[in-house]
């Protein structure tokens, strides 16, 4: 059986997922700043063509009003719709945190299960495009620390599409993180791609020496590092976490149980980041099995700088990942 595929970049993949979901279910909606075609279908075009196809009632451009955007999404979702809300950049969640954390995340619990908030919040972010300190942060650790939210961060077009399909139908609020550096990355995506289940990591490459765990665009760098390491005879098991919360503890633990060594890498600031949770869990579950300390990589404890030289130094590099993996081997 051959699977029919087509080449898509991440923008196209997310666009397709939303379009298919809107086609399948009239309750799926899109809202956010500039998301309708009159305004260009999103600043980078993720929602392009959707309002033309599904109408201006289902795809609504909003004022600059992040609290009201998420509030509207929550309210409409409580009444059975499935809104996909765009917060243009992840840093702008800071003006809507009350709606996200105190409301979207908690309403199911606080209502004793009577109401649910099936929303998707899409955000782009990432350093490396000279956007400076207020437009580049990865804040997934905040959301992972918030029970009730699910947090997703694909690294490639297939996952982007498949995870988005799952987020849209998921009965709970999903934070969907898009890395701007990776938008243009393309890959072959099955035409009839099924939703990719949330909470399932992907073992992208099997290996025996060290497990590298990552997500979003840093995973791409991990792949490159693994290729380099292979040349040196180091066999890397590569795990793309894909969903950050709830994360796939089973897959990760099984892999590190096998390799005995691990590196966790993400773009966010290392301190108090997602990597810490994974490491803390692994040291507990695999004490005595680990062959050495688990290494964590993330941004240094600083803001995202503007100047290119500093910005390049800020983001975890292929070399950083390779070096950390090598360090686990001694």
């Amino acid at each position: 059986m051959t699977v029919q595929t087509k080449k898509l970049n991440i923008i196209q993949a997310i666009n397709e997922a939303i379009a298919e979901a809107m086609e399948a279910d009239p309750k799926v909606l899109v809202l956010g700043e500039d998301v309708a075609d009159r305004e260009g279908g999103g600043v980078v075009g993720v929602t392009r063509g959707l309002s033309a196809r599904f109408g201006d009632e289902r795809v609504r451009s909003t004022p600059i009003t992040e609290q009201a955007i998420i509030g509207a999404a929550i309210g409409v979702a409580i009444n059975g719709y499935k809104p996909i809300a765009e917060i243009m950049l992840m840093n702008f969640t800071t003006v809507a945190m009350d709606m996200i954390v105190n409301h979207a995340a908690k309403l199911r619990f606080m209502s004793g299960g009577q109401t649910s908030v099936p929303i998707v919040i899409r955000m782009m972010t990432g350093a490396g495009i000279a956007s400076g300190g207020q437009h580049s942060d990865f804040l997934e650790a905040w959301f992972a620390h918030t029970p009730g939210l699910k947090v997703v961060a694909p690294s490639n077009p297939e996952d982007a599409k498949g995870l988005m399909l799952s987020c849209i139908v998921d009965p709970d609020p999903c934070m969907f993180i898009e890395c701007s550096r990776a938008y243009g990355n393309s890959g072959m995506v099955p035409v009839d791609l099924a939703p990719i289940p949330l909470g399932k990591a992907k073992v992208v490459q099997e290996g025996s020496d060290v497990t590298i765990i990552s997500y979003s665009e840093i995973f791409v760098r991990a792949q490159q590092a693994a290729a380099e390491l292979a040349k040196e005879g180091i066999s890397v098991e590569l795990i793309d976490l894909r969903t950050i919360s709830p994360w796939d503890r089973e897959t990760v633990v099984a892999s590190v149980r096998k390799t005995g060594r691990a590196v966790v890498a993400h773009e966010a600031v290392r301190a108090f980041g997602v990597g810490a949770e994974i490491v803390a869990t692994l040291q507990d579950e695999l004490f005595g099995i680990l062959k050495g300390p688990i290494k964590r990589l993330g941004a240094p404890y600083t803001s995202v700088p503007f100047s290119k030289v500093l910005e390049d130094a800020f983001v975890v590099s292929v070399a950083d990942i390779a070096a950390a993996a090598r360090a686990t081997m001694v």
Binding site: Q67, G71, V76, M99, F109, K150
Partner: protein, 336 residues
């Protein structure tokens, strides 16, 4: 102000006799329930932060008689009066407040987070201002559904100074959402006097900034309140968009149970208490011949019995089992 709203003079809707009695019934329910709540907290049998709605009975009562169960309210920590007026059943309400598994939210929400979808009490928030953005979303769903339902967002005068108010009124006006923003102006935000927190002398004046009709009404006058609500709700149902109603009132028992009201003058409090809207409307109904002393006494006694029953139901109900701690985090949480 681009108002298409008429609430004065000959255009004002007047509640018929049965509706007047119904408004009074809801007011008496709120007042008696408040009395019962404070008594039981004082007795030590309930421990909760309690924000009394006593003194503000008219507002939700006169509004809710214009609504049916499919219309939804978003209210706030000080919202038990709003919920009772909207028809949340007493037993499940009391059980929730008592943290029992028989409560609306299995005891997990508590008094600040009551949700009872069947009666349209869909959300209670403890965050000042946050009822409004979510009410917009409810209203958006009605519009998409092409239904004639309406959403009410309740909030206080203090809440009119927070960002969510502004964003919500702007979006609602722009999208012509069927929502009514009801500011229960009790002249204080916690211990802060209205004029020490709010730069404009009437919250309703802010409506013009959203090209929305806005007006101030005597929130302790059931007729004025009914007419205002009736007009705003009709406007919303007719697809003409939102309205801001500022209902002037006073809270009798301070911000939260235990508050000693030091920030009020004795005189202003005494004056407000003397104009108790419940007693006032009661007298008015009897004076106008709409009801008799006997009929109202009977009504009140019935309510008292219902409250008594609810309290007993609540206090004799079970606490939630420990599994509830991990249930309802996600749809599949705690599901084996």
């Amino acid at each position: 102000m681009a108002s298409t709203l008429h609430i004065t003079g000959s255009n004002a809707a007047v509640p018929d006799a049965a509706t007047q009695i119904e408004i009074y019934r809801r007011m008496s329910l709120i007042a008696q329930n408040d009395e019962a709540s404070r008594k039981i907290i004082r007795s030590g049998r309930l421990m909760m932060p309690y924000y009394s709605g006593r003194g503000q009975e008219v507002i939700p009562s006169a509004i809710s008689v214009n609504l049916d169960d499919s219309d939804q309210i978003c209210t706030i920590y000080r919202g038990i009066h709003d919920m009772l007026a909207k028809g949340v059943p007493l037993r499940v309400l009391w059980a929730e407040i008592a943290g029992r598994v028989t409560g609306t939210c299995k005891g997990k929400g508590g008094p600040m987070h009551i949700t009872h979808p069947a009666s349209g009490a869909i959300l209670t928030t403890g965050i000042v201002g946050s009822s409004m953005p979510i009410a917009n979303g409810l209203a958006w769903s009605y519009k998409l559904d092409k239904s004639r339902r309406v959403a009410i967002a309740y909030f206080g005068d203090g809440a009119s100074n927070i960002g969510a108010f502004h964003e919500s009124l702007n979006l609602a006006s722009l999208w012509k959402l069927p929502v009514v923003f009801v500011c229960q102006n009790n002249r204080f935000a916690e211990h802060t006097r209205y004029e020490n927190g709010t730069s404009v002398d009437q919250v309703s004046k802010r409506a013009a900034g959203y090209n929305m009709p806005g007006f101030t009404v005597d929130g302790n006058d059931p007729f004025a309140m009914y007419a205002a609500a009736n007009a705003a709700i009709a406007r919303a149902r007719d697809g003409e968009g939102p309205t801001l109603i500022e209902a002037m009132t006073f809270r009798f028992h301070g911000h939260v149970f235990g508050d000693d009201d030091f920030y009020m003058t004795k005189q202003e409090k005494a004056e407000a208490l003397a104009k108790d809207p419940v007693a006032g409307f009661r007298g008015r109904l009897i004076a106008a011949g709409t009801a008799t002393e006997a009929s109202l006494t009977a009504l009140e006694a019935e309510i008292a019995a219902q409250i008594q029953d609810a309290v007993e139901f609540a206090l004799s109900s079970e606490m939630p089992p420990l599994e509830e701690l991990l249930r309802d985090v996600y749809a599949d949480s705690g599901v084996a």
